[in-house]
């Protein structure tokens, strides 16, 4: 199994090689069949059989199999490495991405310098500067010193073969003149490099119609007919192409002239971005309606397959626990297939973590007897998907506790966990939908607060503190999904994932909304996964909830009394209308901060406070659609600066529709997006202004310190 990780990651140092190999690979992909080799006789035997059978029984369910390119890797360890080094030249393309790699120490003071540096560099691109992104040497150094792994994903090979070379010239014209033969600041390449790092090489045309021999996983979502594992187990063929040979092939790809490959790359990347946007634009895929009643069986399955993102939870026996979409008949077959794939790799201590098929990334999280699987075509990294899976797992635990889950499966592996989860699917649905939509809080792993004056918040805090009773553990006021106030004991912190979960439960389902009082056992897994706390929940205004959490089951009346006191005092202090109006007003506008700013939207995460702030999605991203595109962009920026081993501090990305910037310092992360064509220096300047404004407003935007007792 080890062989996978060793062979899959290509180590490429000089930048030129990357683009060469990428380009040439694109052009040659059609005829080539590469195979993974696994050092395991048994597996080899199986895969060769698969090869024989490849075009047989699977054809009937091969909807996607023609295009499915498979790759599998049991390891995402080295994944992150890619992102750092490649992001500099990987923009999705179209255009230019530059990055300044600044060593940590020069940054310790945080703030503006790096961005300012970027500006200068642009203004003065002829002067050699060691770290200038517009210097070829700079780029090569960056890539060279960090000596990263380049991983090729299958997506390269799905590029259409008809290259629109005319696109190349237009693109060159449009690139701000930063590109010149001499200055190649950016190597055209494919963003997949950064957004889907983990990789394997399995580049075969996959069976079915082509009748060609297959290798690799063709993950075909099973339906109607019996689905056969033959097409699903990652196939490993020790055929004549051993991996060394295969890597050699990439590295020594007959030299497509660099420049030629260069412009070709541009054309390609432009096309890719267009395709990608097309995909993002097709709204029908985003249809989230659950109304499937009037559809026929086939239509339902078709719809199920066309979802851009799926979340599944299954037991280690392959019994379905949860699926966002699809009825049991469709899902339970698929669960069997997934269980088999996972268990295929289970021997040894090298579990399957993720694999790709076509445009879909499969990421797996194994937690005891539960397997959680995300299938996404939205381009998230494994790390991002795994964070999302962990949220779902946390949700399951919050309903059942780890103790119960371990106990029921420990006693009976065939246990149908749905029986115990019954009724809470609505929370898992809410969470899944949020993660399909893309939510900044999950992406950034932090919480958002309602912006209010410091003394107002302090007043609310002090009322909560004053009214607290002996059995109170945490007290919270949450409005419109954002924090207003938190009180907690000094020795217990409140963990962001627990709170995110709680907020999601309160605001994404109608269970608790609509007045009334609720007293519910809840496990906050990051606080203590073993047992239940008890939460008193009361929406005292339509979007404003007071939550009092106690470890004592009998504390209902105590909490109720505390709540009456709190509400009365809040009322007397006039705090309630202030919260109400803050909720009604919504978030601030980016243009409130800087008049006429180029920045359309931004996310700012304060690392110390584990909180973030952002302006309203209006006016630029008011539609669902635009919001999704924005979130995908953020997710890519986030991936670029969070790759493992990334030394990237500033990441500047120019795309056809937007110009964006990610900026990471020891104290904050800033992601901002401006309209297409915004010059870099202007964007950088405005980013600085935002940071300045947030510093000034910090105590209004964030809960700093928090109220403890």
């Amino acid at each position: 199994m080890d062989l996978y990780s060793k062979t899959i990651n290509l180590v490429v140092t000089p930048l030129k090689d990357i683009s060469d190999s990428v380009n040439s690979t694109i052009s040659n992909s059609a005829e080539r069949t590469w195979k993974l080799v696994k050092g395991d006789d048994r597996a080899t035997a199986e895969s060769s059989v698969t090869t024989e059978e490849g075009s047989g029984g699977t054809a009937d369910m091969a909807g996607t199999s023609e295009t499915a390119r498979a790759l599998a890797t049991a390891q995402d360890g080295a994944a992150g490495a890619t992102e750092g080094s490649t992001s500099e030249h990987s923009g999705d393309g179209t255009d230019v991405e530059t990055a300044t790699s600044v060593p940590n120490n020069t940054q310790s003071r945080a703030e503006p310098e790096p961005v300012a540096g970027t500006e200068q560099e642009e203004d003065d691109s002829r002067t050699p500067r060691p770290q200038s992104p517009s210097q070829p040497s700079g780029v090569e150094t960056a890539a060279g010193t960090s000596g990263e792994h380049i991983q090729i994903t299958e997506d390269y090979f799905t590029r259409p073969s008809h290259l629109d070379l005319s696109g190349a010239s237009t693109l060159k014209g449009a690139d701000n003149g930063m590109l010149g033969p001499g200055s190649c600041p950016v190597t055209p390449s494919l963003e997949r490099l950064q957004s889907k790092p983990t990789t394997a090489l399995s580049l075969s045309q996959v069976h079915a119609n082509s009748g060609a021999v297959s290798s690799g996983v063709s993950v075909i979502i099973p339906y109607t007919e019996s689905s056969s594992i033959r097409s699903l187990v990652p196939t490993i063929d020790s055929g004549d192409n051993d991996v060394a040979g295969m890597l050699g092939e990439i590295l020594n790809e007959d030299n497509v002239a660099f420049t030629a490959g260069y412009s070709q790359g541009w054309a390609l990347s432009q096309q890719m971005e267009e395709e990608e946007e097309l995909a993002e634009d097709s709204d029908d895929d985003w249809d989230e309606s659950d109304n499937e009643d009037e559809l026929t069986e086939d239509e339902r399955i078709e719809k199920w397959r066309s979802r851009k993102k799926h979340f599944f939870i299954l037991s280690s026996a392959g019994k379905p626990v949860y699926s966002r979409y699809g009825d049991e008949a469709v899902v339970s077959q698929f669960m069997g297939v997934i269980q088999t794939i996972i268990s295929f790799f289970q021997e040894g201590s090298d579990p399957l973590k993720s694999f790709s098929a076509g445009k879909h990334r499969f990421t797996i999280l194994q937690e005891g007897h539960l397997y959680l699987v995300a299938v996404s075509s939205l381009g998230e990294t494994d790390t991002q998907l795994r964070t999302q899976l962990d949220m779902l797992y946390t949700q399951v635990l919050s309903t059942l506790t780890l103790t119960t889950v371990a106990k029921v499966f420990g006693e009976r592996e065939n246990f149908d966990l749905r029986r115990l989860l019954g009724g809470t699917e609505v929370f898992l649905d809410g969470l899944s939908d949020a993660m399909v939509r893309g939510e900044p809080n999950i992406l950034l792993g932090s919480l958002e607060c309602v912006k209010m004056r410091k003394h107002v918040r302090e007043k609310i805090n002090s009322i909560l503190l004053k009214c607290r009773t002996n059995n109170l553990l945490y007290g919270l006021i949450i409005a419109d999904g954002r924090l207003v106030s938190v009180i907690r004991p000094k020795r217990h912190s409140l963990h962001p994932p627990d709170l995110q979960l709680f907020i999601s439960m309160l605001f994404s389902a109608s269970t608790f909304k609509g007045g009334g009082e609720h007293w519910t056992p809840i496990c906050l897994p990051k606080f203590n996964a073993k047992g239940f706390l008890h939460a008193y929940i009361c929406f005292f205004q339509p979007e404003i909830a007071l939550i009092l959490i106690s470890p004592t089951r009998e504390a209902f009346f105590e909490m109720k009394e505390a709540k009456d006191n709190i509400i009365e005092q809040l009322d007397r202090a006039g705090s309630i209308p202030i919260i109400e109006s803050a909720v009604k007003r919504g978030r601030y506008l980016a243009s409130d901060l800087i008049e006429g700013t180029v920045i359309q939207h931004f996310l700012y995460k304060s690392k110390a406070n584990v909180q973030f702030t952002m302006p309203s999605f209006d006016p630029h991203f008011s539609t669902q659609h635009a919001r999704r595109r924005l979130m995908i962009l953020y997710q890519r920026l986030h991936a670029a600066v969070h790759a493992r081993n990334a030394h990237l501090k500033v990441h500047h990305s120019i795309r056809r529709r937007s110009v964006s910037l990610a900026w990471v310092t020891p104290t904050f992360e800033l992601y901002c997006v401006a309209g297409a064509g915004t010059p870099r220096n202007v964007l950088a300047k405005h980013a600085n202004m935002i940071v300045g404004w947030i510093k000034k407003e910090e105590e209004r935007l964030f809960i700093v310190g928090g109220a403890t007792f």
Binding site: E328, T404, N414, R419, G706
Partner: protein, 207 residues
């Protein structure tokens, strides 16, 4: 609690290659039979909803490959099954002789909590083939089933759809009984007490 939700039953079909496991499954689920033999590679999955005594259950049928080279799939594959179906070909003595080792293999791999009471159902398939070729007399099969703890036994023909429906009905019934053998009591008592005093602050994440 049990009537609230549909139950999902995991049923595993085992037996030598060529005895008709896939055909039985296809006959049962799709009401189809194909004379051409196509070896199962690895495993196939089919789902069927059935009514057992007014209870709607979903059978998740795991059809396995009989060839030895696929048996390594088994390790994690068998776990958590609710019923195991052992299939042999009445016209093939060897396929009958190996039933016992299939059963042992299953018990080792799946390690059900109570091996003695775990439900197996034995099926002798291909009874449509003319009598002269029959190698395993019904009596011998019955004796085997009795010796293993009175396993239900059926003689079927996937081709002619004889007895298939009946066999699977018994399979579903036994699987359901197994699934419900030890209804989870819903005892959350053990996990309800959180001693906040003992739970030291684990990290400094401040919100």
């Amino acid at each position: 609690m049990s009537s609230r939700k549909k139950v999902l039953l995991k049923v595993i079909i085992l037996g030598d290659s060529g005895v008709g496991k896939t055909s039985l499954m296809n006959q049962y689920v799709n009401k189809k039979f194909s004379a051409s033999y196509k070896a199962t590679i690895g495993a196939d999955f089919l789902t069927k909803e059935v009514l057992v005594d007014d209870r709607l259950v979903t059978m998740q049928i795991w059809d396995t490959a009989g060839q030895e080279r696929f048996q390594s799939l088994g390790v994690a594959f068998y776990r958590g099954a609710d019923c195991c179906v052992l299939v042999y070909d009445v016209n093939n003595q060897k396929s009958f002789d190996t039933l016992d080792s299939w059963r042992d293999e299953f018990l080792i791999q799946a390690s059900p909590r109570d091996a003695d009471s775990f439900p197996f159902v034995v099926i002798g398939n291909k009874i449509d083939v003319d009598d002269g070729k029959r190698q395993v007399p019904q009596k011998r099969a019955m004796t085997f089933c009795q010796s293993k703890g009175n396993l239900p036994y059926f003689e079927t023909s996937a081709k002619e759809a004889i007895n298939v429906e009946q066999a699977f009905e018994v399979i579903a019934r036994h699987a359901l009984a197994q699934e419900e053998a030890e209804e989870y009591t819903g005892d959350f008592g053990a996990s309800t007490i959180v001693d906040i005093g003992a739970d030291a602050d684990r990290d400094g994440c401040a919100c």
